[in-house]
Symmetry: C3
Subunit: 315 residues, 3 copies
């Protein structure tokens, strides 16, 4: 396994879920794999859950971990060739990335969408240069358009809380004061499409996700209708794709509340966190017994560890 | 042991001192306790000694350590419920803290008094929310009103340097250009009160510590009189409690110097460091053979390791 | 081995090169040496390669590593005695350094030239205070006037790529928009002088390095003439020593390009990185098969590990 960005990178999902369950049950069973292996985790954007969970996962596997917190302004990498580098950028990505590769066995990269240029964000330029140039397996710890460790953890969590019946899973947009990347909803859709679930996406007009993710996905613009009979409600805010990076609405009639949850089939409430209470979801819903956001966060260790284990096995 | 904030959390002090001596003698004897256990050390305020010594202590015990340096302005947590979170605070403490608990076995928290609100500081709001919400044992690595790892290290140091006779220990206020928290003197008083020592506190009028700490403690406003016959001089600056957070004096007649030390019973000089030379103490006193500030700092590993060992044993 | 600053600290170079080759071949063979030993790596200046490679080297040896990133403005240490510390500096170096020594077995320090005071920089004041006061072996991870881990790695790299004949090694100044320290060229000269190579240094007038480094070294002001018959071209920019810290020229006629490399004996191209492309060296040269900059960077682990191993053996 040389990269982890999409569900196809992890192959058969049922097998991956089985492996994840084993990893969760026996987290220290594979420490021989990571012995004398080093993961470098590079954060162009700051992180709480992702850093802690990925570091924990690597340590569980016996790896050494080196965390690089890179202030985006502090380490400007030149990415074009032919440029006379007499400005602010002290280093070219074609040196920086191969060098990092010399000091480790696996690289994790977090680099968010910048909302400056849709094509650049959606080409996953930064992550792909790490994949191309580092000579090491590369994990996205949330890249410009995807957050696969989150989506895999979400799937693990749904698997743990579902009944035998194929569950109805609803991804609902929610209001937020800031423009947030589409990485989490993109990956959620990408993973749920190939998982054994029925996916419905609901959001106000103008918040359609990128067509490459949404092909074949059921969209229901009426949030209440979308919630009917749902087994899992997954709330998330994101900025507009068509009017790229814009906040078109902060309409709190989209906030997930008790009244809407009552329309569901006793649905579990999920969110990747951090969450703005009473914008995205009410205090009542997130503190209810049906809220599984903490368990979902805990499963970030499980998804990261399963992926790292696969990469270690293929070194 | 689920929390470490006051001397009562560690139980019988003589037993704790015996254990500390054993930990110091054989620092690597308990690495089985920490195997596959993770400590997350959260610094809302920066640190040199506390970070290094606590990390060393945890590593001596075989633990994995994850350090989180959190810029206080960069991770504003909402602490009230019912708030519509549409402002600067991206996360509620009721999600953040339980999530951190999912990724570790023991949590250390450093969060200083802010001097904005005496009641809030003295309620130990931040630390108590970690204790209440994290589901993990929590160590104060200096909280708003206490610095128990320092006080326990101080006691270990006094134990190492005392004679058979019950020692006279003097805590003296000293001048400093900045308003410093009362955490160190509060804890020092709290620990010395229950230790086998005679405690005297000396400071200018207006620098009285909080009554909850000072009940039954001998205060001597004449510094020279206080120093007479002392076996240990513990210097520290702090801001006023009554005029909360104010610097009332920078009077260098309170600086600890050779002349005053001559009044003592060849007292050892102690300070938690960092120390402003020639404000708090003269070069001559801190560089004299009776200065034990470096040994005192070294014992920060011992106090942290004894506490972490107790917590690991009770997991 | 108590300090690592100059080649004389490592003794016989042939022996050191042999040891480095063994370390590279069997990087995990000496983990017993580092067991329960802690390295504290202190960065007054930020770092990518040095931090990653030194941390990797220490971990390969079984050590625990604690990294301290110290914002130069954030931890101002008083270095004079007799000063009344009522200003910005919260701690005296005579407390800070011995305390750090209490928490570790080996200390690494990175502290660049400040270009404020030539005498202060060239006295290696900061590094020498760590050596004097810490009580621990100290490694320069680039100090004011030297970067010995780089120079040792450079020598290892030359040794790997040389033929039997004594190689001609050329250090060439190159243009750069910023004033860079002389640490790398100083150490390169210092090491090559005592290695089994013929060294030529080429630079524009005014860029002469400090006399204490250049005694007996061949300087050729005509860059093309210097390149003739060279086996290794080592490019680096530095600020003027005589007009201390000034950029006297950014003349791109000094950029290393294909035309100049054609004058050499199929020379390998070396640079310590990061490198400004098309200022210091053209895209074509640095991406050519004769560019060994990535291998050179990889050898930073080897030089650091050889030095750390020596220090561990002498504890």
């Amino acid at each position: 396994m040389r990269r982890f960005l999409t569900p196809s990178d992890i192959g058969d999902l049922n097998q991956a879920l089985k492996e994840a369950a084993e990893v969760k049950k026996n987290p220290y069973a594979h420490q021989h794999l990571g012995k004398n292996k080093t993961a470098v985790l590079i954060f162009f954007n700051s992180s709480l859950r992702t850093r802690l969970s990925t570091q924990k996962a690597a340590t569980n596997l016996g790896m050494n971990v080196i965390v690089l917190d890179i202030n985006k302004d502090g380490w400007q990498l030149e990415t074009e060739t032919g440029v006379i580098m007499d400005g602010d950028k002290p280093e070219h990505i074609r040196e920086a990335v191969p060098v990092i590769g010399q000091y480790c066995d696996i690289i994790g990269v977090r680099s968010f969408a910048r909302f400056e240029n849709k094509e650049e964000d959606y080409s996953e330029k930064i992550l792909n240069q790490f994949i191309e140039l580092s000579g090491r397996p590369v994990i996205s710890m949330e890249s410009a358009t995807r957050h696969p460790l989150q989506a895999f953890a979400d799937l693990v969590t749904i698997e743990e809380h579902r009944s035998d019946k194929r569950p109805k899973v609803v991804l609902t947009w929610a209001p937020h004061p800031k423009a947030l990347p589409q990485a989490v909803p993109n990956s959620f859709v990408e993973w749920m499409k190939v998982a054994d679930v029925d996916l419905t996406v609901t959001h106000p007009k103008g918040y359609e996700l990128a067509p490459e993710f949404m092909e074949g996905v059921h969209v229901e613009y009426d949030q209440k209708k979308a919630f009917e009979g749902a087994d899992f409600i997954y709330a998330k805010s994101w900025a507009s794709f068509s009017e790229y990076g814009k906040v078109l609405s902060t309409d709190r009639s989209w906030t997930v509340n008790e009244e809407k949850m009552a329309l569901t089939n006793n649905a579990k409430f999920m969110h990747c966190l951090p969450v703005r209470r009473n914008m995205v979801v009410t205090d009542g819903v997130i503190e209810s017994p049906d809220s599984i956001v903490i368990q979902e966060a805990a499963n970030r260790v499980v998804s990261a560890q399963t992926v790292l284990k696969r990469m270690l096995e293929s070194l």
